[in-house]
């Protein structure tokens, strides 16, 4: 394996999101560059080598609750109402509270101690399933009473993607926010082959990873291969943990739990309301309801989910997050591990590249399909392996999906690839002005069409527009092409794009929406 060190893949896997890297001296709060990481240092120093297994990483979780600010339209508009949702959360002591809990990356055989303190009013648990339904769970604390702390030591099991969660009163506690991603990498590649994310890849999956970077149709890097000269990490991978949040129902469950300590909210009632609470016309547009009073919004929202998240973020905040969105060059394949903690099916469509479904529920696929959309059922884990080939339907010499030279354009001088004319276009155009967020000046909204930006979105569309209009509140991410290893290494960089990358790496940093938040509701 070229340029591959275990610590590196763990480090890069965690860039920009609350991540625990088991056995590494680099637990990441997302900003490795300016040193404001809050990472603890419980692993062995250095960490360039595979761990001996002698060290134990301790993760200390508190089961608690929080009110989370969600995305919606202009929160300051009259009648818009607070966009917030009550959650139960696994808070690891090194990170601020959030749902989902921090991503945990480990290598097969790592020893991990989980200490879990229950600060809520009823019994809770910490659970990591086994690699299949038939296999015993990796971790199962059983009930943890309020105020109690339970400690479990375990070994990271078979390589794969797991949902750590509270399995009590299923699915209520999990859906209320008590979940996070637990990723186990294989200890090494299969002998004579390149690294895959799997300990026992199927022949087709192994061939795909063997071919990346070494065949004429996948020019560029292997998955295991990074390039320090371009800041390209090896073993590029992301987690997309999908979820659905119902602010009305979650608040009811929270109130019930506080008023009835130790009594479970009935799980069948929770499921019935979450999936089937009757429709309410919540539009305030007079064309949909002549009795609606504009601009005051309807207050009677139902108990179905209104917020759809990836790693706890929606819309703008997911689409412009380098921890969520793969941002690489043509020729830099990556793996996205998708989990669904909720109760709705998602149908995740990627633009710009078809992906291979290389693994479903920790089974490497015997017949990995090459798709642009696939289903992710509740509690499924699905791996999308994205070749990061040039978007193949940009005109080229032969037109057969290969990295041929582009076609000479009509006005001459340049070719269709790289699209240097499109790089120079701004949408909107330079000089498109709007009042700045703080209302003190005019801002230019011009955005350069470079690097190349594409979305990934759930095609089960009700997750997209729950807060109204377009894709900007929904379960959405993206895929961005920053350059091409085979023609133009780096595409021009839009200024705000650089800022997004810089912001995205500081996950703990928060700020108010433009114009500030509305006053806190009365307590």
């Amino acid at each position: 394996m070229k340029d591959f060190k275990r610590r590196d893949f763990l480090k890069y896997a965690g860039a920009g999101v609350a991540t625990i890297l088991v056995g590494c001296n680099s637990n990441s709060n997302g900003d490795d560059e300016d040193g404001d990481s809050t990472g603890s240092n419980s692993g062995p120093a250095g960490g360039d080598d595979l761990p001996s297994g002698g060290e134990t990483e301790t993760l200390h979780f508190t089961i608690t609750d929080a009110m989370k600010e969600m995305i919606t339209h202009e929160p300051n508009n009259p009648g818009a109402g607070p966009a917030e949702c009550y959650f139960w959360v696994f808070q690891e002591e090194r990170f601020p509270a959030d749902s989902p809990g921090p991503q945990i990356f480990a290598v097969e055989g790592d020893r991990i101690e989980v200490k879990v303190t229950n600060a809520l009013d009823g019994p809770h648990a910490f659970f990591i399933p086994g690699p299949s339904q038939a296999a015993p769970p990796m971790v199962d604390t059983g009930p943890i009473a309020p105020g109690e702390t339970v400690s479990v030591i375990f070994e990271a099991g078979a390589a794969g993607t797991y949902l750590y969660h509270d399995n009590m009163n299923a699915p209520v506690n999990r859906v209320m926010g008590l979940h996070g991603a637990f990723v186990v990498m294989p200890r090494k590649a299969v002998a004579g082959h390149k690294l895959t994310p799997y300990a026992n890849p199927s022949p087709g999956v192994q061939q795909l990873f063997d071919d990346f970077g070494s065949t004429p149709w996948w020019p560029g890097l292997a998955w295991e291969e990074g390039d320090p000269s371009t800041d390209t990490p090896p073993a590029r991978q992301h987690v997309w943990l999908c979820h659905q949040a119902s602010p009305v129902l979650f608040a009811e469950v929270g109130e019930f739990a506080q008023a009835n300590p130790g009594v479970d909210f009935p799980a069948d009632r929770f499921v019935a309301l979450f999936l089937g609470d009757p429709f309410i016309n919540t539009s305030n547009d007079a064309r949909t309801d002549v009795n609606a009073s504009f601009p005051v919004k309807t207050t009677g929202f139902n108990r179905k989910p209104h917020f759809f998240t990836i790693n706890g973020q929606s819309g703008f905040f997911a689409h412009h997050n380098p921890a969520i969105v793969p941002m690489y060059r043509v020729g830099e394949p990556c793996v996205v591990r998708i989990l669904n903690a909720g109760l709705w099916l998602h149908s995740m469509h990627l633009h710009a590249n078809h992906f291979y479904v290389t693994c479903v529920n920790n089974v490497p696929q015997e017949n990995p399909l090459w798709l642009d959309v696939f289903n992710v059922f509740p509690m499924d884990s699905v791996d999308y392996t994205i070749p990061f080939m040039r978007p193949p339907d940009i005109p080229n010499q032969r037109g057969i999906g290969r990295a041929d030279a582009g076609v000479v354009i009509q006005s001459g001088g340049t070719r269709t690839w790289p699209p240097v004319r499109e790089f120079e276009i701004h949408q909107p155009a330079i000089g498109t002005l709007a009042t700045s967020f703080d209302g003190t000046r005019q801002s230019d909204l011009a955005a350069r069409q470079s690097p190349l930006c594409y979305p990934m979105h759930d095609h089960s569309e009700p997750s997209q527009t729950s807060q109204g209009g377009n894709y900007n509140c929904g379960l959405i991410a993206g895929v961005y092409f920053l350059g091409d290893r085979n023609t133009m290494m780096d595409f021009p960089m839009e200024d705000e794009f650089q800022m997004m990358i810089d912001f995205g790496r500081r996950v703990a940093e928060t700020g108010p929406p433009p114009g500030g938040w509305p006053p806190e509701p009365d307590s």
Binding site: D65, V271, P368, I394, G399, T465, G468, G469, N470
Partner: protein
Amino acid sequence: MALPKSGTRIRRKKISGMQAMWTKMWDPPKDSPETPELVAATNPVPEFMASLALGSVSTPQTVERILLNNLPNDQTVTWDGLKDLSFMVFDDSDFAPTGAFPGATIRVPRGVIFHCQTQGKGPPPHTIHWHGIEPTPMNDGVGHCSMEIGDYLYQWQPNFIGTYFYHCHRNTVQHFEFGLYGMLLVEPPDAYDQRDPAQPFYAGGYPRRTAANTSAFPQFPGFISGHPTLGVGNAADDGVGDPHAFTVPYDAEALWVLDDRDSVWSDLASNAKAFYPGGAVTNDGHLAAVVDRPGVNDQFPHGFFHDFNADYWYVTGVPVPAARGGTATINPSGPRPTGGGLPGGLIPPNLNSGVTGMQVAVDARVNETILVRCLNAAYNSITVTLPMDAVVIAFDGRALGVPPFARYNHAFLLRAGTPYHLSTARRFDLLLRSATPVSGTATVQFFDTRGQRVAATDPVLVTARIPIEIR
């Protein structure tokens, strides 16, 4: 609400310094730019359609689409006569000026330069996203990653033969649901070369060919392979080999586009202009506000688009005459409103790029190869179950087992009676063939995406049966 016992508040992330990106997500620019990197169109299909006297070509070798339009009134009443649904559809000013649901099927040979001259009608902005086609962002038709139109010439070159679709990517939940989509089929490079109706592989009829590797399934005659490693490339990998490399002929073709409608959404959200920044209408009938900061003061009306409850179902525009919980067989050639009103049950050539004979219900002969192209355009998920063995040859415009990508996957047998699951926007291509007569139905079950695999049994909404007759 004094809810959190912990008192913790999880703050929203910072966006200052990113006003352009924030604004573009909420209110994408509306523009009619020149197509960058423009090259000459080489698509033969519009001229072929004109030669059949189906209409005239506005711009040489260029497809036309206008959005949005309403559907003629005789097609909007539901099968039970209880509702008159609102539709938003594409029209083709050259060949289908009244529009259609689904929109007219675009067929295009692999490797040509495809142009679509697209006009957005009326104030609401639109785009066309060519689902599964992978061009530059400006030609990908996603507003917040480029712009909304206006008037724009989309340009791309289809590189992989197979089944795709196109839809408006603005407020997809409303516009796609209301009918702003159509099928897009990429065919072999010479699919439109044979202009003599008396000859095999005539451009306007059948048989035709599509991409596959059926070397393990010799029951489908006429499969042509190619270079074992390079596939459709030539041996030196500097040109293209046989245009039929890794294709198989088919004698009949059926299009199954599964869709569902929520009539409450149709009633409440029939106005395409409502769900836009500044689109809200006040009680006295005025537009709400001047928007100078989208995402800050845009008076975006709150919708109800998280809550979809299908109550009408369609197969390629043909109503499924069943209420929730029911089962019914479709009748493509029957009179509306319970049938599809398709002449002879066939999709007319002006809605199928000049090709006559595409079916919805399968009606074929023994020892004919039948290609079924299936898209789940419903917001719920489906299973498709066939009364006979089938071979799955492709998903999403990527034929299984075709080199150079043959090392990873392969075509496979789908046994009679085995349900195959497709969530929203998924497609697959199936081959059927029988040496003996078959009289049966394919079964499509629509499931509520809310709660699948949560309870012991999945929530079935409706069951549609599609006739399959092999004589």
